[in-house]
């Protein structure tokens, strides 16, 4: 509409109506379609499995209503969904915090010291290759069964992307940025704080985001070794014994929702703010 008007009246510039802009900018419609595709695939598989194998595969409506009941306080494998989610969030929060401190420190050190990078990166790549489940025996051997083992697994899977992206971001800072600081008489700490850190910040945030997602996803594996009967991951496993598959689907849904919310709300807005601050959104 606005386009046609602009062309017909010969304007050089125009703005869309706010509603249109919002729709275009947020891609609300596409997101809705995307969710519909997920639900459709799920439903199709559920019906197919019930027909072909005669198993009680939870369908989307069943799961939704169970999810709603769980929100209203119904038990999911012995505890409320909030208690499970709370336990998981705490483990993950602890693990991620430790990973953040260690990963950023290592990443910054590797990024600024090439020799350390070449030697140390090998172990980071090796750690990164170890799948979440494979950490279970290692965690058990070091910490035995319990919370510490769970947190350890989260830490180990969240650290590699933090180190890789932080170190990579700093190493990829254009040489000319460093040269400008050097010829302006800046010392190491000014170079680091005023140039390297801002220039690498997007990459660092990216590492934080991947680390966060890694840690959240590995919760399921990590809660296999947890001693207490609490946690979203634990609740998913529990269906192997309870055969209450709907309950584990509710837990899977809770994991997806919490993970997506944290990633989209927290990180997307953080990244946009940093992009803006850095003047990188209009980079040429």
């Amino acid at each position: 509409m606005a386009v046609a008007t602009a062309l017909d009246t010969g304007q050089a510039q125009f703005v869309f109506r706010p509603e249109t802009t919002r729709l275009m900018a947020k891609g609300t419609w596409n997101a809705f379609l995307g969710i519909m595709v997920v639900v459709f695939i799920w439903w199709f598989v559920a019906e197919a499995m019930m027909f072909l194998r005669g198993v009680p595969f939870p369908t989307p409506p069943e799961t939704m209503s169970a999810f709603w009941q769980a929100i209203m306080g119904a038990d999911v494998h012995g505890e409320s969904i909030f208690a499970h989610a709370n336990a998981s969030l705490q483990r993950w929060g602890q693990g991620y915090l430790i990973a953040l401190v260690l990963g950023l420190a290592l990443g910054l050190a590797f990024g600024t010291m090439p020799r350390l990078h070449d030697v140390g990166m090998i172990s980071v790549y090796v750690f990164q290759m170890i799948p979440g489940l494979a950490w279970i025996p290692i965690a058990m051997l070091i910490f035995g069964l319990g919370e510490t083992a769970t947190v350890f697994i989260i830490v180990m899977t969240a650290i590699p992307p933090l180190v890789i992206n932080t170190a990579g971001g700093i190493r990829e800072v254009p040489a000319v940025y460093t040269r400008v600081a050097r010829m302006s008489g800046k010392d190491d700490s000014a170079l680091f704080m005023k140039v390297l850190l801002p220039a690498a910040s997007l990459s660092i945030i990216n590492g934080m985001r991947i680390g966060l997602a890694n840690g959240w996803r590995v919760l399921i594996a990590a809660e296999m070794v947890v001693g207490v009967a609490l946690g979203l991951g634990f609740s998913i496993y529990q269906s192997r014994y309870s055969l209450d598959f709907t309950a584990s689907f509710v837990s899977i849904m809770a994991i997806c929702i919490i993970g997506l919310t944290i990633e989209k709300l927290l990180f997307v807005s953080m990244e946009n703010r940093v992009r803006n601050r850095l003047g990188l959104d209009r980079e040429d």
Partner: protein, 261 residues
């Protein structure tokens, strides 16, 4: 002598394929106080390397780089550089970029503002570099280099990526700043007309390995008329030499006919 290269050679080694490249071999070059020295030559002949050595970003494999009689051991605010590639920090405003290089402890903002005024961009102090055109960015880069209070201004094809008209305008700005500030400038370009328009001396380099081929002293006053007979013949001479060097190095001469624009 403000700065000099004494029998300087620079070799770059590539540990991945075990090759060495002699970028400069036995260069002698003196930069005199107050001169406007233009370095020309086809690409890859070591112009940037020479400038980086003077700046202190690179150290010579052999020979000495001297500045005010002392060996250059690293970059310093005494030698300001304007780079060809975008070098402003995108996360700082135009003013902050200039302030970053002001050496004085007090009154940095007003000093930075003065340098912005010199390049006619005080009205854009609070803009982001990404909001400026290519030519404006390079003017800010010049203001920043001047803000360091350098005795030597090193410029590496600063306007190489700009359109002809903008380049001419900025050339005149540089000329004016050079005259007003009685600075010493080393200006790298591959554009012969630009060198003839600006330089008090033009030094021609040639490649493989990089060396100094010849130099010309220009004493014509500004603004210069490049269509005057003496300038025309000088231009022909330089183009001739450029082609001769390039052919000796196996490059096609046609390629180089475009160098003078």
């Amino acid at each position: 002598m403000l700065a000099s290269l004494r029998n300087v050679s620079k070799v770059f080694t590539d540990p991945r394929n075990g090759r060495g490249l002699v970028a400069l071999n036995g260069i002698d070059l003196d930069v005199k106080e107050g001169e406007f020295l233009c370095l020309i030559g086809s690409s890859g002949c070591g112009k940037s390397t020479t400038l980086n050595l003077l700046a202190g970003f690179e150290s010579p494999t052999r020979g000495d780089v001297l500045f005010k009689g002392k060996k250059v051991i690293g970059p310093s605010p005494e030698r300001g550089v304007v780079f060809q590639e975008p070098s402003l920090y995108p996360w700082m405003s135009v003013l902050q970029n200039v302030m970053f290089s002001v050496q004085e402890k007090n009154g940095r903002e007003s000093l930075a503002m003065e340098y912005l005024k010199m390049v006619g961009l005080d009205g854009f102090a609070n803009s982001r570099p990404s909001d400026l055109s290519g030519g404006m960015k390079q003017r800010v880069a010049i203001a920043r280099a001047l803000a360091m209070g350098p005795d030597l201004l090193l410029m590496d094809e600063p306007f190489g990526s700009l359109d002809e008209q903008t380049r001419r305008k900025l050339d005149n700005d540089v000329l004016r700043l050079w005259k007003e500030g009685s600075k010493t400038v080393v200006f790298v370009t591959h554009n012969i007309d630009e060198a003839l328009m600006l330089g008090t001396r033009v030094v021609l380099m040639s490649a493989s390995p990089g060396r100094i081929e010849r130099e010309w002293v220009l004493d014509a006053d500004w603004p210069r008329d490049l269509s005057s007979p003496s300038m025309m013949s000088l231009r022909e001479e330089i183009i001739g030499m450029l082609q001769a060097c390039a052919c000796a190095n196996g490059a096609a001469p046609v390629q180089l006919l475009t160098i003078g624009d």
